[in-house]
């Protein structure tokens, strides 16, 4: 197996690029969760926000990723370092699934449960943190899962602007018409995506309310 031979020989570089890849995906997912969950709560509780929030996230999603990386390149501070830029772009893409699933999860909580909680005298934040979020958690998590899997794939394109990651191998391989090199980037990326999908899927099942 030539590819694996290559990967073994260059294992240090494979590891380095994989870590860069993970860093970009991890940080951008974290940002997407920190921004997306509050936005999802906002649009679930105040329907006026529903359209602007989800609409904007939807539009961002339609921008081709290579174009988005390009658009952001001239932005000061951001453009200085490619990984900042890549993280911002990945965050923007990850927002939609997180927002949408937070919205769906909270709206999906049994109205009788919410009414009982309100009738018992729970305050808004008690209701949110003790009832709505725990019950919506598995749905929210499945949104995060989609975001992570998509990000792992998208992050390969970040190499086009010099942000590193496993895309390095792929782009180099494309330029040199070297399938081995392409696979050396694609295989670890696929493994990352599959294991994130599997791990978060397992967590999601465990958190599912009965």
């Amino acid at each position: 197996m030539n590819v694996f031979h290559f990967m073994l020989q260059n294992h240090e570089q494979v590891l380095e690029l994989t870590l860069e890849h993970l860093w970009m995906v991890g940080v951008s997912t974290l940002f997407a969760v920190l921004i997306g969950i509050p936005l999802g709560i906002l649009s679930a509780h105040w329907p006026v926000w529903n359209r602007p929030v989800l609409g904007t996230a939807n539009i961002i999603q339609t921008i081709p990723s290579l174009a988005l990386f390009g658009f952001l390149l001239p932005v000061p501070w951001l453009g200085e370092r490619a990984d900042r830029l890549a993280i911002l772009a990945l965050t923007l893409y990850a927002l939609l699934p997180v927002i949408r699933n937070t919205y769906t999860g909270i709206r999906g909580v049994d109205p009788a449960v919410v009414e009982a909680g309100r009738g018992m005298g729970l305050t808004g934040s008690q209701l949110l943190f003790q009832v709505e979020l725990p019950l919506a958690l598995s749905v929210i998590l499945s949104g995060v899962r989609v975001a992570v899997v998509v990000s792992v794939g998208l992050a390969t394109i970040a190499a086009a602007i010099g942000a590193g990651g496993l895309g390095e191998f792929i782009f180099r391989g494309l330029a040199m018409v070297n399938n081995q090199l392409i696979l050396a980037g694609a295989i670890p990326a696929a493994i990352l995506a599959l294991s994130a999908d599997f791990g978060l899927g397992w967590l999601e099942k465990r958190l599912q309310p009965q």
Binding site: D110, A112, V114, E115, G119, L122
Partner: protein
């Protein structure tokens, strides 16, 4: 518990109206005094305004006209969280928190109120016994219970912080006839012991006659009449007569009450 003349009623509706934002009027001109320790049944068909009236008491809805007083104080001026915690609330769908055990469901309000663990634990045991449940049920989740058990837990939860007022919105409506009958009997026994002020919503005349100390008949967002169950079938009000006919003629409240 003898209500004195100077004591304010537990709940009072003063010319209360409720209109939806769209303009649909669900309730109008409601005047009603509910005395301490009585079980007032709001009887009416779907859309008669009975549930609306109930939700105005704990401010789940806000009157668009008039005032609702609880313990002599207008609800509009009271702290809504305090108000709700001082009123037990039981609904047909029970609304147990599916991710909490029975114990956590029942003890949620006491816990939020900062009760010590030991006191909470004792209270849960006491409540489960009160509503006829085995103590080992405390560690189960709602989906592991039968409909009747769930409704009992709902009642226990509403009673947790020992509220003087209990609002019950068709609590036995979704149960089979046998279970409903049993829970009604237990409700009467419990009410005799606890002497709460209960407002009970139902569309079931039998249930109303059996449980109520007074029956408030509602139709089309208006209160038609308020009568003790003994007089309800004899009052001659056309709507009350229609109800009696719908539920069969032989409905003497005295025999219906049965042994309690």
């Amino acid at each position: 518990m003898e209500p004195t003349a100077t004591q304010s009623p537990a709940i009072e509706f003063r010319d209360v109206a409720f209109t939806l934002p769209g303009g649909q009027q669900l309730l109008s001109g409601l005047n009603l005094r509910i005395e301490r320790g009585e079980t007032l049944v709001l009887l009416g068909r779907s859309g008669s305004g009975k549930t609306t009236a109930l939700k105005l008491i704990n401010r789940l809805l806000i009157p668009s006209g008039g005032e609702v007083h609880v313990n002599g104080q207008p609800t509009a001026e009271s702290d809504v969280v305090r108000l709700r915690r001082s009123i037990g609330y039981v609904i047909q769908d029970v609304g147990l928190f599916p991710h909490f055990t029975v114990k956590r469901n029942v003890s949620l309000v006491p816990r939020i109120e900062g009760w010590a663990d030991e006191r909470v634990h004792q209270r849960v045991e006491e409540l489960l016994q009160m509503v006829g449940l085995e103590p080992q049920i405390a560690s189960r989740y709602p989906h592991q219970l039968s409909g009747g058990q769930r409704q009992r837990v709902g009642v226990a939860r509403a009673l947790a912080a020992d509220p003087a007022i209990l609002l019950m919105d068709e609590p036995f409506g979704a149960l089979d006839a046998l279970t409903r009958n049993q829970l009604q009997r237990e409700f009467l026994a419990l009410q005799q012991r606890l002497n709460k002020t209960v407002v009970f919503v139902t569309h079931d005349l039998r249930e109303a006659l059996r449980l109520g100390s007074r029956i408030a008949l509602m139709e089309g967002g208006r209160l038609i009449t308020v009568l003790p169950p003994e007089d309800f079938l004899r009052c001659g009000d056309p709507l009350a007569t229609a109800y009696a006919q719908a539920f069969g003629e032989s409905m003497d409240p005295a025999t219906n009450r049965g042994p309690s």
